[in-house]
Amino acid sequence: MGVRNRLSAILAALLVLACAIFPAPVRAQESLPPIEITSAAKAQPIAVSALKNLGGDDSHQVSATFVKVLMRDLTLSSFFRIVDPASYIEDAQNSGFDIGQFNFADWSSIGADFLVKGTVTRDGDKISVEALLFDVPQQRRMMGKKFSGDPHDVGEMARRFADAILLNATGTRGPFDSKLAFVSTRGGRFKEIYTSWLDGGGLFRVTDNPTINLFPAFDRSVTHLLYLSYKTYTPILYLVDLGNQTEVPINPGLGQAVGGALTPDGQIIGAFERAGSTNLYLLTQGGNLVRSLTDNHAINVGPSVCADGGQFAFTSDRSGTPQIYTESLDGGDAHRITYKGDYNTAPAFSPDCKKIAYESRQSGFQIYVINSDGTGARQLTQSGSNQGPAWSPDGRYIAFSSNRGGGSRIYLMRARDGYVIAPLTEGQGNESNPAWSWWMGG
């Protein structure tokens, strides 16, 4: 052991000590990354009134957080545009909040088709929020929800209410009560893994090692995250328990880890390389081999499991070029899905298992969507190089990384037409490998 390595070991020991002495600070008020979002064409005008303080929120902090997150999420949905709060006639604190207690004309006159009102009650750390959605032209209450929790839960209350508004207005629950995981170099030169709410709130740094960390993947219950790290200077998969923030290495002795994914029930599909061939294996949550999924001398990587747990998609170059295949998790034959283009990779199954998004290399990459039977391939992105598609749990959106604005950054687009809604990250450093969780609330 050289002097430098001995010094490293001492430094490492000191750092561990430092971590024990200075535990992670408790997260402060919900902050969202500063992002410009242009409202989509045909977006419906919605007014989001401040929450009426029924006691305990005299500083209006709870209201401000709830309104800020709700406005961000409704705008990101592309279904709504926020009517400028500066134009609101009614004072939320001096008017009623339910039907018959306020004047719809105050809202129709400023062009709002939808209106959110509500109340907040705070007793120490116990917060209750009641939120209501109104149809302004029809002067009727569409929906109401009650939430309670502590101050850290206010953002999540807003995200759930955003999802409920989309359910009422579009017939499908919104995707905002869900997490994004991604790789970012924002902390310096190294690729580290972060999670946040889809809207960027609640940023949490999962890895902190000066090496390379890649390919975050959630399980369906959003209790675990799988990723690949070189932190021991050899690539190994790690399974993080997001609840107690611990992790275990997944090392089944099948070769060097290349990547992986989690099945809906928390099993692992790992890609492991041995003697130059990379194959996919189904493993238990503890990392024990269940069965081989591929067994050939080619490259088989990039698994994505569809939400019903029946099938998975992956990339294989068994035909000579990397192409997308599907296969049953029970084993059996692989079916080639893509034939157009000579470099198709990074498949992502849509939540209804009917479509697969993937990246196709031309000059740079573009994101395509194809039916899972191989028909109907459609190019979604046009500008810049675009990679790593990840579907929203409701199937209406795709997150992806793009260099369209310069450095690589995570963006949100509509799956149906490829309309790019907004970047999801600030673009501090380069960001890539987006993973999109299932709904946090089941």
Binding site: C19, S148, H152, T234, N244, Q245, Q256, T278, Y343
Partner: protein, 189 residues
């Protein structure tokens, strides 16, 4: 109808309608507490974000090139007693012009029998990340197989792929891409 779900810092209780009784809330609070305590007991595995251990099994130090923290990640193309070899786009086949390079590397290893070598496979930045890690592994294995046929003991050689993560250069030019599609041979005593 009520549902409880774990929030970021506690539990969020969501009621489907407006009618909710204190009794239900208390039952929910009890469930929440039970959930919290059982979670703590299930604690296993190592805590996230300890500092990286100083020296892993694969901690062979390269020379020259970009230096990473304590210098234990590879990615170095220049310097060292052994020379890099290069590959065509999306290929892992040893090229004819590299036969003499590998022969020279094998000669050096034969002359220095107490050394070990880690063969690092690298790719240019035009491929997909995960596919490139597998491709880099294939490139490293190709060199290991070749050196084995030249008489080098496989037990002295290990392979690792860095995919496109540790480029030598970042220009969007044919010349730079060609430099990055390489095997680097990192030697340790």
């Amino acid at each position: 109808m009520s549902r409880i779900q774990r929030g970021r810092g506690g539990w969020v209780v969501e009621a489907g309608g407006f009618a909710r009784t204190l009794a239900i809330a208390m039952v929910i609070a009890g469930l929440a507490l039970a959930g919290c305590s059982s979670k703590k007991n299930a604690n296993e595995g190592s805590q996230l974000n300890p500092s990286p251990n100083g020296m892993g099994e694969g901690g062979l130090n390269g020379t020259g090139g970009p230096q990473y923290a304590n210098g234990s990640l590879g990615g170095n193309g220049a310097g060292g007693p052994l020379s890099d070899i290069h590959f065509d786009l999306n290929e892992a086949t040893i090229q004819p012009q590299d036969n003499s390079v590998l022969k020279a590397n094998a000669d050096w290893l034969t002359a220095h029998p107490n050394t070990r070598v880690q063969i690092e496979g690298h790719c240019d930045d035009r491929g997909s990340e995960e596919y490139n890690i597998a491709l880099g592994a294939k490139r490293a294995q190709a060199a290991k197989d070749y050196l084995t046929t030249l008489g080098i003991d496989g037990g002295r050689m290990s392979t690792i792929s860095y995919g496109k993560e540790l480029p030598l250069c970042t220009d969007e030019t044919e010349d730079c891409w060609a430099q990055n599609r390489r095997d680097h041979f990192a030697v340790a005593q």
